[in-house]
Symmetry: C2
Subunit: 647 residues, 2 copies
């Protein structure tokens, strides 16, 4: 005899159901409507519920974070009743918001063990100095240094003109009780003098926040984290499109723009403008001022760093593809034109090569790739696709020229991952009818990267396109047709969309996406071959980049973008670039580490690499010419063939 | 029987005279007119002659430099015939020019042993780099560093944004043959990374000049020396009045001006303007550009340094007289607004206290005071009077608030040492009539410092003023009278002067001069007492400052400004401040040395010192209350009393 449990839905009915009843079934019995865009496959996350009282039994799903599960969240399609429980069905709006919020607030597990006493690069010291007299004629700056050397184990100090200019007044107005802001450590002065960055009248409270900024300049998105340097906590965040987008969507077009007339200066102004907007936003949220920020680290791909510093990037795109600089010297904010404390140190993180930049070394640092025992693949798929393969003993990298297809560029109805972008798609294997989810939940405007991957995978698995990417026009559905760009599949009819036009995926789009995924898979293949590691020796895949975080894993494997490994082998790390910048901002050891990473990564330039072209050609199929590399996809296709009469 | 020698005067007659005949007598016998303004005392230098062929026997005179004597120069009144000789009597104009030129071109004996290979702080390296390729992907900056580390024993390098911005183009345009300008050593990065200051296409000739600037900012005069850093040679010089003079003649009035409204910014702009004018002038003379100057050291008194850096100087004049900074950190030229190479390092030399500044530590360095075995007095009498007493074991210093009387300020007919200033005076003990010499040789406009000293001494020795400084109006000469300012002595009648007014010295002027000389002598007394050294243990006096160089020693002793020591105990060192700046510019050891000097000098603040006031009061007489301190003056006075009937 099966035990029955009382299930109470908040603000709705209740029902008594036996152990093992799916939550979705219990809801239906209780008269509660829960939407299921993906048909109960646990993939869309839209049937999110929350157990307020009691526990639900869950199957593993990549849609939920461990912290969500601890908080009682579950997917109604992937959980069941095992005890009496009260269930909240959040309104759709709240679910959408949760998912949107997640996009800008990744977890920062990497900072768990931050020890400020060991690491803190900039510190405040409350000093009470003895006043000068006829018998004690030490100058103001000398007096401040004497005070500091009593609380800090240093005897060499540096100071800037602006501080010297205010010092005398600050000391006298505050009756020789002052606070000194001191930078004890920068990486190009390993044993150099400490630097007095500022001096304030009176003593500050010991819990006064001390702000640092970690900035990731992506080709598309600029991300800012404000960190309290005393404890390593991220206290505010902001992200926005890189203002340079209007002058070119990818690095190559920006390099070309920078080479003409006043282009370089304009691009620098545009990205600084974006950063300044983020600084204001992030500071406002915590009632601070950008001038309160006393240290910054900046990361980004090599082109973005050149453009920020207005260093001519022309050689980056011309064979042999050499950047002017992989690791600029430490700068002052005023020198760079960055509107934080003018005397704050700005560290630009070190990159490896023209197409494996500081964003990737920061990612390797944040992912701890250089500390792994097993061979691990680190991928950062943004506007470009960069890969690093390695472990604690070696690291090898390449850039895949994947192009921005996965960011929606070069695709007729492609768009970036904003409001109205279709981010997930399911296709019924019988009717070929799609169900989709948009960012923000409203009517669709186009397809973003994760939507494109999902669509491609679903079209392939449903048999709408074949393994070469050809659209099967003979299928009995209006969704396939020949449009102005050739064969296409209609994802959304004009009547459903924001702009009143059909949203389609054309054969040309499919070709572009195949080339992009083939480039990434070929990069992975060549990296492994270059170090003589068999592909199946790679046991872990770390995926960085805001984009990576929203990939549907199974579908990315189905199209052959990711290797066919068990789902638990994949870890989505979020924006590893800004995480790495944050670590380097806080921690001397991390700064040392990222320098070692940058100098130890072996870079493979693929543009003249024949093995890469061979691997690329083999990967231009769904999922791959060599189907044995994708056993689970092979199995799924076999299953589908057995079940679907018109396959 | 006495041997006779043939004396041939160039372009004039010849004469046969016995051994021991004074040159002046031989000239008169040969019908050659030689002017003797001082009456043959060897003091004015105007009877300069030159032995072209053969040798003259000379008595020692402070008017001639050793190099002059070697070159055959002699004073006709102080030399005699000992062998056949050809004598040139230079035209008066040439003599005047020689004396004027000397004013801006002191000797630099201190640089004799410069070893560029050991010291040179900034160096040019010709590099031929291997071009990058697909297989050698090192970035441009990394490649430059690799090239440098092969010729320079360093592996850490820094670089500025402007260099990074030009690097790629320079490397490619010159086919990877470039010259790097590298600063290997600055004093606040003793073990820090070398800094690439600039990079140029192609290779430079090994004899290319590498310019450094040593700048002395005096309250009155700014002096610039351009030095070739490769060999330590001074290649160009310029000096001009400090443009701040119009905003106050002494440091106190400038401090007050700086404290009001935009005064500080204005004063900074004025002195920078003066410096920039000097840079242009000095560069033009050697067909160089100010931007070619790749390193600078700046010295000056503490107020001048504050004003240059626009650091508020207010506390310098308020008890307890504390400067904001004695030793500012190393700056870049662009930061300071100095129009040389924008990335050049600018070192401001370290001072000791508000009134013993970097000009004095530089002077101590140049004078080698800190290496002397015997106790030595170093004096720098400019707008203020600073003294340092010491030897290799200790150094003690004070500032005497002498005021600018010896620069002509606070004296009715006083003026600075320019064209038309009376710089030397002789007074006939019988007629009380004066003879004088002006700078440039033309009609007089006023009295400069050395003229005032000479006048005071002559008036005293001739008995026109008594030991208290009172003018003896009862004397039978129209030169003494009561003018609008009280009793006065007329040095030049209106008919002789440039401006058509009498040039006089009033009783008030005499009082001011007495106070100035008394302050300096009292400072010396107190310094000696403070370390328990008897006055007569001081065996050497080094006199720095452009002013010091033109003092007539005997006369300065006669008025009690200098201690009564044998003439050979005095050494005129010229502008020791700029000499010290030059040493610190060139030589790492000198930079270390001047830091040690600044930190080891013990400073005595005299403003609250009772012993100083006692010593000052005793010194308010000519030459001093205690005449036994001035035995030669005592003897001269006795002699005069015996010979002059109306004494």
């Amino acid at each position: 005899m099966t035990t029955k449990h009382l299930v109470q839905f908040v603000n709705a009915g209740s029902v008594l159901v036996p152990t093992g009843t799916p939550v979705i079934t219990a809801a239906r019995l209780a008269g509660v409507e829960i939407s299921q865009p993906c048909g109960g496959q646990g993939r869309c996350g839209r049937c999110l519920v929350r157990a307020l009282d009691g526990r639900l039994q869950q199957r593993l799903t990549p849609r939920l974070l461990p912290s969500d599960i601890v908080a009682g969240y579950a997917l109604a399609c992937h959980s069941s009743i095992v005890e009496p429980v009260t269930i909240l069905v959040p309104p759709q709006q709240e679910i959408a918001q949760r998912l949107v919020t997640e996009r800008v607030a990744p977890e920062i597990s990497v900072l768990e063990h931050y020890d400020a006493s060991q690491c803190q690069p900039v510190r405040l010291f409350n000093l009470t100095l003895s006043p000068p007299s006829i018998d004690d004629q030490t100058d103001d700056w000398g007096r401040l240094q004497m005070g500091l050397s009593q609380v800090l184990d240093r005897d060499l100090f540096q100071v800037s003109l602006p501080v010297l200019r205010k010092l005398g007044n600050v000391l006298r107005q505050s009756a020789w009780r002052v606070t000194a802001l001191v930078e004890t450590d920068t990486w190009d002065r390993p044993s150099g003098p400490a630097r007095v960055v500022d001096v304030y009248p009176g003593h500050v409270a010991p819990d006064k926040m001390l702000l640092g900024a970690a900035i990731d300049i992506g080709t598309t998105t600029v991300t800012l984290w404000l960190v309290d340097l005393r404890c390593g906590r991220v206290v505010s965040q902001a992200a926005d499109y890189n203002g340079q987008i209007a002058r070119g969507e990818d690095v190559i077009s920006r390099i070309i723009y920078a080479s003409k007339g006043d282009g370089a200066r304009e691009l620098r102004a545009l990205v600084l403008n974006t950063i300044h907007g983020l600084l204001r936003t992030a500071c406002q949220a915590i009632s601070a001022q950008p001038a309160d920020i006393v240290k910054a680290t900046i990361t980004g791909n090599t082109t973005m760093m050149h453009l920020l510093l207005e260093i001519p990037p022309a050689s980056i795109r011309l064979e042999p593809f050499i950047p002017a600089v992989n690791h600029p010297s430490t700068l002052r904010a005023a020198e760079l034109g960055l509107d934080i404390h003018p005397d704050a140190t700005v560290d630009c993180l070190p990159g490896v090569a023209s197409y494996v930049g500081a964003d990737i070394t920061a990612g390797v640092l944040a992912a701890n790739l250089n500390r792994q025992d097993t061979v691990t693949l680190f991928m950062d798929i943004g506007t470009n696709g960069e890969l690093v393969l390695g472990n604690r003993e070696w690291l090898v990298s390449c850039a895949c020229s994947a192009g921005p297809a996965f960011e929606g560029a070069g695709v007729v109805c492609g768009m970036r991952a904003t409001q109205g972008a279709i981010e997930e798609v399911w296709i019924d294997g019988d009717s070929y009818e799609p169900t989709y989810r948009t960012i923000g939940g409203g009517a669709p405007r186009g397809l973003c990267g994760s939507g494109l991957i999902a669509l491609l995978a679903e079209l392939f698995v449903a048999g709408v396109i074949d393994k070469s990417g050809n659209i099967r026009l003979e299928l009995p559905t209006e969704r396939v047709r020949v449009g102005p760009h050739g064969p296409e599949y209609v994802v959304a009819w004009a009547s459903e969309t924001q702009h009143g036009c059909d949203i389609v995926l054309t054969h040309v789009d499919v070709d572009n996406l195949l080339r992009a995924k083939a480039a990434i898979y070929a990069g992975f293949t060549v990296l492994a071959e270059s170090v003589g590691v068999p592909l199946d020796a790679v046991q872990q895949v770390f995926i960085g980049g805001a984009f990576g975080k929203y990939i549907n894993l199974e579908k990315a494997i189905q199209i052959g973008l990711l290797p066919d490994l068990p789902l638990q082998s994949f870890r989505f790390l979020g924006n590893t670039s800004v995480q790495g910048a944050c670590l380097a901002l806080l921690d001397r050891a991390a700064r040392q580490s990222i320098k070692e990473i940058a100098s130890s990564i072996v870079y493979l330039e693929l543009s003249a690499n024949n093995a890469f072209y061979d691997a690329f050609t083999s990967a231009l199929f769904l999922p791959h010419t060599d189907l044995s590399r994708f056993p689970t996809v092979q199995a799924a296709m076999a299953e589908r063939t057995n079940h679907v009469h018109h396959w």
